[in-house]
Symmetry: C2
Subunit: 340 residues, 2 copies
Amino acid sequence: MKQVALGIDIGGTNTAIGVVDRDGNVLYEKKPQLTTPQKKENPQGSEVKSEELMAAFIKDITSEIKSAIDTVMQINPDIEVVGIGIGAPNGNYYTGTIEYAPNLPFVGVINFAQRIQAEFPNLKHVKLTNDANAAALGELVYGGGKGMKNFVMITLGTGLGSGIIVNGDLVYGADGFAGEVGHTIIEPGGRVCGCGALGHLEAYCSATGMKRTVYELLAKYNNTESVLAEVPYNEMTSKIVFDAAEAGDALAKEVFEVTGELLGRGLADTVHHLSPEAIFLFGGPVAAGEYIFKPTKESMERHLLPIFRNKVKILPSELKAGSAAIIGASALVWKELEKN
Amino acid sequence: MKQVALGIDIGGTNTAIGVVDRDGNVLYEKKPQLTTPQKKENPQGSEVKSEELMAAFIKDITSEIKSAIDTVMQINPDIEVVGIGIGAPNGNYYTGTIEYAPNLPFVGVINFAQRIQAEFPNLKHVKLTNDANAAALGELVYGGGKGMKNFVMITLGTGLGSGIIVNGDLVYGADGFAGEVGHTIIEPGGRVCGCGALGHLEAYCSATGMKRTVYELLAKYNNTESVLAEVPYNEMTSKIVFDAAEAGDALAKEVFEVTGELLGRGLADTVHHLSPEAIFLFGGPVAAGEYIFKPTKESMERHLLPIFRNKVKILPSELKAGSAAIIGASALVWKELEKN
């Protein structure tokens, strides 16, 4: 009997569903992904509409889960589904609820895990957390964090997500929402964060943050020579900055230096809290390799107390970029299995 | 048979030794305290001298422990000593070593717990950590943190120490040194910290930090009316600032507001990492009550993501000021007993 876990990742645009084995192999992945109900479908924040969208969403997911299990069983009938792990914005591990997620059309607190559990009453483990926490568990269960007791996962995307592992388990905190390192202050009174507050780490150190740095530097130097000066704001990506740096563009290189300087400073604050063995970086900007790792590492070391220097590794995540969200979510299940 | 634990706190000036029961009652406390070997006794950082001072120090402590046990047994012969807990600067819980402590005359890494253990081979639990971690354990075992699973202890003194409780146990991190929140950056490029780096939380939010704020504000306003303008820098204390505020001194009140604003901002960063149930404040400045708690709480709430607001309590430590160090150190023993 081969044990497998379902992984579900609810993103702002799409919802990914897959079946993952204990070694992190994705046995099935729904393509194309399900469309997540959109914020614009409930512009007034109506509770009735919220419930209507949620009921349809649960129905869609349930049907996709059943079809995923069927597909996997056709290949290998000797399979046991041990549970469902869900990554969701503002996902609360303790209660299984999605709470006031700013980019989803659902109103208030949604009993998401409970509603999925009701569709699959025989499954013992239906658990939910946010996507960055799920990624950290993925790194712990299948990735570079295997065998580590204390590490931090940083996901660099539109924002900066984080998941904290202490004594071999995820830190959920008193309310289930711990691990929001992206919203620590790195520049008091600085850039406006997506959350509305000023100077947060994710406003500087994320794919979006790097984009902002490009145009800040272009404006600072009035640099008309950089190839980045030819790209509209809304088309800029960390991939474009990386390619420009590879081609020798000085401003593109400075973008990585500035990003690494600030990320290293922020990570030093995290080390001063937690003294992890390693910090894993995940996401688009990580593809830039040493362009981002070198200045981040140098800045972190410079900002650490001597007692912490040359101890903390900064490593690229070992989760496969394409299916990391599903893999991370599925890791919740194996972690529960280990606890129970 | 009544179980008791020894608590030893090694400070830069004195070393406190006491006997504490499971409820946190101090049954015996050495008065006057032992003098800690002084940095100036080994100005060259000689290894030979370091070992000489350490050998004498171990001998003194051993003799004082024996005398403490004898004294307690004279009152109640039916006593079992279950272990020795030690709070020490740069104390490493995992190895029991004191490592490169900047204010002690000892060179390099000292096997402190092991050497004490060698003097008391029958004791199962001889454990060591730094003083702020010990204080956090004290709060967990005997104080306001009893029954809590996730909280943070902040000690405000010459510096700002911290101890972090996650899932009911202290966070030691990968190397044994976690919990240095005082050295997170609150003002990039700001005040010089005791450690030499710039802008650390403890350079602003500690008894010393408040003193610095007094003179920064006096200079800012050229305020000659404040009673604080009559006090030399080297005589200023948080008690003097509190008394001035109580007497209506506007500058003294502003010192608390500035301190609370920055402390609240720093604590928001900590909440964004850990989402604790409560943050306990300990130390001299805490005696100022609402003068410090109100602006700290207000600033923290203002700097939190909405999801964390109105959840995290900021509370005064319930450890008795005079014997908190001994009590905290002794808590290490009960925590070990619980684990084994």
